[in-house]
Amino acid sequence: MDAILLQILNGLDKGSAYALIALGLTLIFGTLGVVNFAHGALFMIGAFCAVTMQRLFSLSYEVVDETQTDFLGNPLKVQVPYVEGWFGEGAGTTLIDWSVPLAIIATIPVMMLIGWAMERGLIKHFYKRPHADQILVTFGLAIVLQEFIRYFFGANPIQTPAPSDYQGTVQLTQAIAYPVWRLIYFFFSAFVIAGVFAFLQFTTFGMVVRAGMADRETVGLLGIDIDKRFTLMFGIAAAVAGLAGVMYTPILSPNYHMGMDFLVLSFVVVVVGGMGSLPGAVAAGFLLGILQSFASMNEVKSLIPGIDQVIIYLVAIVILLTRPRGLMGRKGVMED
Amino acid sequence: MGILEVKGVNKRFGGLQALGDVNLSVQENTCHAIIGPNGAGKSTLLNVLVGKLIPDSGSVMFDGNSVLGRKPHEINQMGISRVFQTPEIFGDLTVIENVMIPCFAKRDGAFRMHAYETVAAEKDIREKAEAILEDVNMLDKLNMHAASMSRGDKRRLEMAMCLVQEPRLLLLDEPTAGMARADTEATIQLLKDIRVKRGLTMAIIEHDMNVVFSLAERITVLAQGTPLVEDTPDNIKGHPKVREAYLGEAQV
């Protein structure tokens, strides 16, 4: 029993990330009809928002500390972060320690701005073009964004630890000790997902968007300017991907190609969930995350060698062949 | 015994009875029109005939063979061609290529791996394609991109593509929908000429009564998925049930 629970828990953090990225992809696809291959890059940029925050907080000036000396007997020069200078040592250290969660505050406007710029600057010209063109141009954009990040942050993964209070494990049952941050990540994702759904469900704006997802033309005929709202949806989707990235950094040290790595998997998730279905994307995200963690159990691996490497793709292939609209997709989406 | 025999076909979509016990017999070398108010099931029937939809019950026999359960391309190879309401053509190809493709389909069947021959060497096919394009007055547009033509030209091209296959049954789905008066007349004339020249069995769905009465020899009136009457155009004109079906619709 514990073993099963453990695998489910182990699948949650990856599943949460998949679900969040797939949710954004589906929002964009459902509202704008655009297949966005740059969505993984948005996830990556989110992660690097956390890195930037950490670097900003750690920006330091030099002071000469008379109380300490180096081995030659000269007074020691000490790097003091500005934040410590401004807010006092205790508050400053806490700020640096908390840079990942604090980055959330900066990430939301930054990502919405990036999403808005992407939509207005590029994507909107591709609404009427074939899906293949959309894939290609966003693929090109993903390469460009990835290279920018590599230029500014280098090619190596950058450690961005969680606040020190949340680095340990928590004893869930007697047998299971689970990393605290992963639990936080799961609840955080659940919160974001709930937020997005509540937004769509209970605001007039959300209602229009949902109606637009169901039948774009009719809503357009009602005289509602769908496009303006959809631009905002692109910003929201980008913010969701960014949030997924920020909070994921303590689990996986961000590197410039993490976007591409997650992109493929999240597309698989979207397809399994059903193109255009938001609940499908979320469900499939968690489902595949958990399946993947079950497949990496030694008992399973010894039974079917290599299954942990391919389980997600295998599921995707089977679903696509037997149920092309995915678990919860509507019929006819993107079928000829 | 007609070339096309539809017997007791039923089709439901959820709670809606789209086709209810439809019987239809199309005789060889006639033009058979199927008319009826909107939602009468005309398009559903057509889609059953070409294999796009499979009915819940009943039989559809074409020249003694069942078409049910066959794929659209198999049904086409049996000799049924279809003209669509909005022309379905190969927009990226030239006009002559559009017509050569059905010629290849007719000669080589549903698939042939002729990857090493050249199109240029297929003189017979080209002649055949040019002959039909002459019939529809499109010889001057041979190398035009099909997508760049007017709707009327696309319609004529689509008909040429169907006719070049020498189908044993040509299904026409509102061939004059959205056409100007003059184009409609030209289309009627075109179909008449081709029937005289090539002898052709046609089943036509049409709203325009002018078209129906100038072409059809038999008319079936569908209403709410069921055939109301089947008769000659003259008898249909004054038929009370037909008037009821159409007027009933008009009053709603």
């Binding site: 590029l122 899906h131 293949a132 894939i135 290609l136 141009v137 693929f139 090109g140 954009l141 390469i143 460009v144 990835q146 290279e147 920018f148 230029y151 591409m260 597309f267 698989v268 193109m275 060698p305 290599g306 490497q309 391919v310 793709y313 295998l314 995707a316 292939i317 696509l320 062949l321 092309p324 993107m334 079928e335 | 070409v50 391309h73 086409n76 190879q77 061609s81 669509f84 379905e88 053509i89 190969f90 190809l93 290529e97 050569m100 493709i101 059905p102 290849f104 389909a105 007719k106 549903a110 698939f111 791996m113 990857a115 090493y116 021959e117 050249t118 199109v119 240029a120 593509m161 296959q165």
Partner: protein, 399 residues
């Protein structure tokens, strides 16, 4: 000639001539000059031009003609490489059996993957091919280690059986040959300040690539090719014309898979090792980039695209800031630094950025790729020189 129209024959002959003269054409700068670093006429790079050109030609048969966008073609390249190296290990260092087996094995592999993937179209097809390729890539790293030698990659060893060859002399690894002609053998001609390297391996690849190009030309001009274009244009009309799209697309898929496998076999023939990283989906993405960049659906475009990307990868990436300082030394100091800084972003390690940007520009504004760009410039030049005739306007790009 060769069953082609006069125009196509001329076109083919030009391509043949250019290919055979590549070692000269790509070395336009004297070896001692400062511009020598732009010379691309060295064997390893020329081989890559031919090999990736061949792969892009094959990819274009699928994507250019039918419009099915596969994100899994690198898997066939990888399988071809493995098959070829195994041939080198087990049978003989002769390259012919190796590339033949590479083509056959990848063809069978493509048959299986294509048969399944082509049940869906559009983005679903793309994702299916992507999923298959990623599976192959990951399995090559894990379960299939006995065949692929995992992360180390498959290499030749002295203890390989090589049943047709005699034991290697001197304890060094044998090199791939074509009936005694070593693939790595080169002959350098010194013409004045210029050095031209003629390499056996390159010419072998070039001949195969020309054959591949010729075959693709035939396919483009064949009824089969016309059917593939028809599928791209309108599948509904296709089936209501009595044609079954599935075997046509499958045939195109298998043919393009065999091109990729052949390319993989040639890669192994030039350098007898094979690694799983060749199968990664980003490698598939590179072929897509090449084809689009050069001009999808055109005959020559994919080759140009492949050449461009490989050139950028090998030449642009070597330009660093000190080289740039050398070029812009004549500028005032402050300006020089700015200009150098700016250009440095796009060369050296930044060449990926250049690639991504150019790719986006092509997709946004030049659907016909570099080929279309060239045609537009040519038309513009003609218009400028006032020699334009009405005929030029209506001439459609044939290539």
């Amino acid at each position: 000639m060769f069953g082609l129209s006069q125009k196509d024959t001329k076109f083919l002959l030009i391509v043949v001539a250019l290919t055979l003269l590549t070692p000269i054409l790509l070395n336009p700068f004297p070896s001692e000059s400062g511009l020598a670093q732009f010379n691309a006429g060295y064997p390893a790079l020329m081989q890559r031009f031919a090999i990736y050109g061949l792969m892009a030609i094959g990819f274009n048969i699928l994507f250019g003609l039918t419009g099915y966008l596969s994100f899994g073609h690198a898997a066939f390249l990888g399988v071809g490489s493995y098959a070829a190296v195994w041939m080198f290990k087990l049978l003989s260092m002769n390259v012919l059996p190796a590339i033949i087996l590479a083509t056959i094995v990848s063809g069978l592999f493509a048959l299986v993957i294509g048969y399944i993937s082509l049940r869906r179209s559009g983005i679903y097809f793309s994702i299916l091919t992507l999923a298959f390729a990623e599976m192959s890539y990951r399995l090559a790293y894990s379960v299939f280690t006995p065949i692929t030698n995992g992360e180390t990659g498959l290499q030749l060893t002295l203890s390989d059986p090589r049943i047709l060859d005699s034991a290697p002399e001197g304890g060094s690894l044998p090199v791939p040959t074509l009936f005694g002609l070593d693939m790595n053998a080169s002959w350098t001609a010194n013409v004045g300040p210029w050095d031209f390297t003629f390499n056996i391996g390159y010419y072998f690849c070039a001949v195969i690539a020309i054959l591949g190009f010729y075959l693709s030309l035939r396919i483009f001009r064949s009824p089969f090719g016309m059917m593939l274009r028809a599928i791209k244009s309108n599948q509904t009309r296709m089936s209501y014309t009595g044609l079954n799209s599935r075997p046509y697309t499958l045939a195109a898929f298998v043919i393009s898979g065999m091109y990729a496998g052949l390319a993989g076999g040639l890669l192994a023939a030039m350098d007898p090792l094979a690694g799983a990283e060749r199968m990664q989906w980003t490698a598939s993405g590179e072929v897509v980039l090449m084809t689009i960049m050069g001009g999808v659906g055109t005959l020559m475009g994919p080759v140009i695209g492949a050449g461009f990307i490989k050139y950028a990868e090998n030449i642009f990436s070597k330009i660093n800031e000190s080289v740039l300082h050398g070029w812009f030394g004549w500028l005032p100091d402050g300006l020089e630094d700015i200009v150098v800084w700016f250009f440095a972003r796009f060369v050296g390690e930044g060449w990926h950025l250049t690639l991504g940007l150019m790719f986006m520009i092509v997709v946004i504004a030049l659907p016909g790729g570099l080929v279309e760009g060239g045609q537009r410039i040519a038309r513009w030049v003609r218009r400028k020189s006032g020699r334009e005739t009405a005929a030029d306007e209506t001439t459609k790009p044939a290539e």
